[in-house]
């Protein structure tokens, strides 16, 4: 799997960064001046401009190796968008992207910590632990952070899972954001993250988020398109690097998703 590399810090970008969402509208101007417009789905694209500075030689070498592997603009790679939620449908756990073990009952429309009703209540009526999870098409060995706002009036616990790793939190009636982060060993092309509920647990959740970084960032609500972009290519035929000193390199990378 060709994938845009993470930095040694566990992040996959630096600020500032520019993201441009592109749509295309077909416009037909009639003889009487009226306009007829159509959305052209084939023209949808997303562009990123990453301004990277202070990269070690090893970090820059990974980017250069990717550039060589994809032969410049020719081939595509996977990018985990640094300003997106890698989970799809973060506020609708009824969608098929969420894999739900059979004894879990999920009730939507619960009051969330920000005054809305986008939280959902998960009840495990089974005799064994049950999980609610998603699988993303990202590299197994990356650094990931899985987070969620959680509470439990009855004092249940919640385990935030990353593959087979995870962290367990004792909850009370107050909302708090809990997370599990780190890198797991493995070289696969997918990653499973989610939430595990003990037998009898009843937990309210809001804003599940998966990011390819060390700690939870700002929450991004997601719908049918999350931050995994499987067909991204470089936009430039050259890869310019500026050596700032012996172990500090800088460059501007322009990427485009060709979905």
């Amino acid at each position: 799997m060709l994938v845009f590399p993470q930095l040694l810090s566990g992040a996959n970008t630096q600020y500032p960064l520019v993201r441009t969402d592109v749509f295309r509208t077909a416009l037909n101007t009639l003889a009487d001046g009226r306009e007829v417009k159509y959305a052209d789905a084939g023209g949808i694209a997303t562009r990123w401009e990453l301004r990277l500075q202070g990269l070690t030689n090893a970090e820059w070498a990974e980017i250069a190796a990717l550039y060589q592997a994809v032969e410049g603009r020719l081939r595509t790679f996977t990018l985990l968008d640094p300003i997106s939620n890698l989970f799809e449908w973060s506020e609708d756990s009824s969608k098929p992207e969420w894999m739900k073990d059979p004894m879990l009952v999920v009730a939507p429309g619960i009051a969330d910590p920000f005054g809305g009703t986008a939280a959902f209540r998960v009840t495990n009526g089974g005799q064994a632990s049950q999980t609610l999870r998603q699988t993303i098409a990202g590299p197994t060995g990356f650094q990931y952070c899985c987070s969620v706002w959680a509470r439990s009036v009855g004092g249940s616990s919640l385990t935030v899972k990353r593959q087979s790793d995870g962290n367990t939190f004792a909850l009370d009636a107050e909302w708090r954001r809990v997370y599990s982060s780190g890198a797991v060993s493995g070289s696969g092309d997918s990653f499973v993250a989610g939430f595990e509920f003990a037998s009898g647990a009843q937990v309210d959740l809001y804003g599940p988020q998966l990011e390819a970084q060390m700690a939870p960032g700002a929450y991004w609500r997601s719908t049918d398109h999350a931050g995994v972009y499987p067909r991204v290519r470089f936009e430039d035929d050259g890869l310019d690097v500026t050596a700032q000193d012996a172990q500090a390199n800088a460059g501007i990378l322009r990427l485009v998703s060709v979905e």
């Binding site: 600020y15 500032p16 960064l17 520019v18 700002a218």
Partner: protein
């Protein structure tokens, strides 16, 4: 098309759309985005 309320004088304009097919957001840091959006009213 959507309805747009002018923040200057609260006039509500019907049949508005975005002027551009592109929306560029520059992120200076987490939750520090900056963009420019042009909205136009369609009169026909």
């Amino acid at each position: 098309m959507f309805q747009f309320e002018d923040p200057w004088d609260a006039t509500v304009y019907e049949n508005c759309s975005f002027e551009s097919d592109e929306n560029e957001v520059r992120w200076e840091g987490e939750e520090m985005g900056r963009t420019r959006i042009v909205i136009r009213q369609n009169r026909n």
